[in-house]
């Protein structure tokens, strides 16, 4: 009964003209940037963050959340038609989606991607609505040691799932923690690493950091090489998948939804991992695995369902524990904090309108996206023809205004540029920026939890080992680190053997 009562309460929040229009704006912008390669939801949300100062917090989060899940819909369009993923989470869709387009089946590929996304997105919101309230009750019993250990586990999982080197990811997390300590110490008021720059006393802003690492560095990477985009010239007809397409895709959508949702909850898991795992699972369970990579519709349905479902899952740690599962959620934390709202278990009690309003907005937003992505597909295809030479100066320009508008300070703009250059070099040398940003956001909460725990225990680290949830988290974290080390040495031994045997 509560389920429907909460849903109705949420719908009463979202179905106001203001929230409805911002929900539409969010999913529209999300689809737009999902379609356009070169700018992702992270950069866009960072650009739009300063613009949300003047609107109510619930409306702001509805807008930003819409951009996030809207981008997952839009990302598939470029994967299918251009063979360039609009979003990292749609990389795997290129394998079968583009092949389908070459075979003249772009319509059904786009159609199943949109329907699969809609079904998975809706299922994940149902999952979120069902899981979040009981988890909030558990989270209310957490003290500083549990929070600290949970954040350590979160960072370790994030680095464990890093696509490149885990050691590099761990180091990036360290840099993020360090950057998070810049500014006034919240407990003593002492300035830290501010180098006599007054603007740094408030700490490094999340917006310049994210815009630099994700927006500016992406532009540098794209302009250093001339990338040609070839939009599939096939006429897109019959977007509705046939009965056979549905029969072939139904289990792929179901499995993709489940995999995406649960991997979305994990820190660093999110949409990318969900899409990759669901594709691998489909290939494994398929009776005709040889079809994959040659235009199998399941190869489009599964990852597209998974990446949408992951967005719902990612909201669980944010809304219940106040811990971001990925960089997008870190930006949402920033947005909540700007409005004076602390995310975490108290959110449901103190701001039920925001909690249920945001969840209900996802049902509405998913429905809007279905309409936006099927009848308006022609519009999105036209957008693909906008050359990058026009697009990137606009991205740069909006990053410049966005970073300036937060505090009316050129120091923020300079910081953004600095992080842009650092981010460019980091990506070149295979250092992932995501652990840095997440650790940066978690750093102040982590520091407070660590110091409070040590004060509580009069300086004994045993406080982290005496509590069941805390020790559980630390054991899992240690296990993951050990597994990673073992697999590194095993790999090295095999390489040596191969070298010796020639």
């Amino acid at each position: 009964m509560d389920f429907f009562a909460n849903l109705i309460a949420g719908l009463s929040v979202v179905l106001t003209p203001l929230n409805l229009s911002f929900c539409f704006l969010g999913v529209f912008v999300g689809t737009l940037i999902g379609v356009l390669p070169g700018i992702g939801p992270v950069g866009t949300m960072a650009i739009l963050l300063p613009m949300t100062y003047g609107i109510p917090p619930t409306t702001a989060i509805i807008l930003l959340a819409g951009i996030y899940y809207g981008a997952q819909y839009g990302g598939s369009t470029t994967s299918i038609l251009v063979n360039i993923p609009g979003e990292a989470a749609s990389v795997i869709t290129t394998l079968d989606g583009y092949q389908m387009a070459l075979q003249g089946r772009a319509g059904p590929a786009l159609g199943i991607a949109a329907f699969g996304s809609f079904i998975a997105g809706t299922l994940s919101v149902i999952g979120l609505q069902a899981i979040a309230p009981p988890l909030v009750r558990v989270a209310l019993s957490f003290g500083p040691p549990e929070y600290f250990s949970l954040m350590i586990l979160g960072l370790v999982i994030l680095t464990y799932l890093a696509q490149k080197s885990m050691v590099k990811a761990l180091m990036m997390a360290g840099i993020g923690v360090l950057l998070g300590t810049i500014g006034l110490d919240s407990m003593t008021g002492q300035p830290r690493f501010a180098f006599s720059i007054p603007e740094l006393l408030d700490g490094v802003g999340l917006v310049p950091l994210v815009m630099g690492l994700f927006g500016i560095s992406e532009v540098f990477l794209n302009v250093e090489k001339m990338v040609q985009r070839h939009v599939s010239s096939t006429k897109i007809s019959r977007l509705l998948p046939s009965f056979r397409d549905w029969m072939e895709s139904k289990w792929a959508i179901a499995r993709g939804s489940a995999i995406g949702f649960f991997l979305g909850i994990l820190p660093g898991g999110g949409a990318i991992l969900g899409s990759l795992v669901s594709y691998a699972v489909e290939k494994r369970v398929s009776k005709n695995p040889e079809k994959f990579g040659k235009g199998a519709i399941e190869g489009v349905a599964a990852p597209e369902s998974a990446n949408n479902s992951a967005t719902g899952g990612a909201f669980i740690p944010l809304l219940t524990l106040g811990i971001p599962a990925n960089v997008v959620m870190a930006i949402l934390i920033g947005a909540l904090m700007i409005h004076g709202i602390t995310p975490g278990p108290m959110l449901l009690k103190e701001h039920p309108d925001l909690f249920w309003g945001v969840i209900a907005s996802m049902y509405v937003g998913n429905f809007m996206l279905l309409i936006l992505n099927l009848p308006l597909i022609g519009l999105w295809v036209q957008l693909l023809r906008v050359p990058y030479s026009i697009l990137f100066p606009l991205i740069l320009f909006f990053c410049l205004i966005g970073s300036y508008a937060i505090n009316n300070s050129t120091v923020d703009v300079a910081l953004m540029l600095l992080f842009g250059v650092v981010g460019y070099l980091m990506r070149k040398f295979e250092y992932e920026p995501a652990p840095l940003v997440l650790a940066f956001v978690l750093s102040p909460i982590m520091e407070q939890a660590l110091r409070q725990s040590l004060i509580l225990s009069t300086g004994s680290f045993m406080i982290f080992l005496n509590r069941p949830i805390s020790i559980g988290c630390l054991i899992v974290a240690a296990g993951l680190l050990a597994t990673s080390a073992v697999s590194f040495f095993r790999k090295r031994t095999i390489e040596k053997r191969v070298d010796v045997n020639g």
Binding site: P50, M51, Y53, G54, S165, V167, K168, L170, M171, G174, I175, V177, L178, T181, D185, M187, T188, Q190, R192, F193, I216, V219, F220, V223, E224, K225, M226, S389, I390, P393, L394, L396, F397, F398, L400, I401, Y404, A405, N408, T410, V413, A414, L417, G420, V421, L425, K428, F429, Y431, S443, M446, E447, L450, R451, L454, I455, T458, G459, S460, F461
Partner: protein, 147 residues
């Protein structure tokens, strides 16, 4: 190279944390977390350095491939334009700086036609000025010309 840079960053933050005051376990000081972070950065940087030392052969091949076909002119030009934007913004005002920056990006870096470059620059800077100044009530710098 990269690992040595990060190693230095770690050491500097350890030094800075000690100066701030690491405190004790009973009463951690302002530099406590940054001290731990600096230590782990240095440690990880050492591990990366050792890893790359062990695989220096393949690393050299990888490094040269990294910069292959890179057209330096564009990223460097964009970086310099952004620096100029930061330096000029509060002196010449939002409208003139933005208009000039966009025009330079479109005309000189991207070599669009005069008409296209002027049209896009004027419309984008004008629309964003109205959006931020009037709709979002943001205080954009007016500069010496007063707009």
């Amino acid at each position: 190279m990269g690992s040595l840079f990060w190693f230095a960053v770690g050491l500097i933050s350890i030094y800075g944390s000690i100066k701030l005051g690491v405190g004790t376990l009973r009463e951690p000081g302002s530099g406590f977390l940054s001290f731990l972070a600096g230590g782990s950065i240095s440690l990880m940087a050492m591990v990366i350095f050792l890893q790359s030392f062990l695989r220096r052969g393949e690393l050299l091949v990888k490094l040269s491939a990294l910069w292959e076909g890179v057209r330096w002119r564009r990223p460097v030009a964009i970086g310099l334009i952004l620096v100029a934007y930061i330096l000029a913004l509060e002196r010449t005002g939002f409208l003139i700086t933005s208009l000039t920056t966009l025009f330079v990006l479109f005309k000189i870096v991207e070599k669009l036609s005069w008409v296209k470059a002027i049209l896009i620059s004027v419309s984008i800077s004008g629309v964003s000025f109205c959006l931020f100044n009037y709709l979002l009530k943001a205080t954009l710098p007016r500069g010496i010309f007063g707009f």
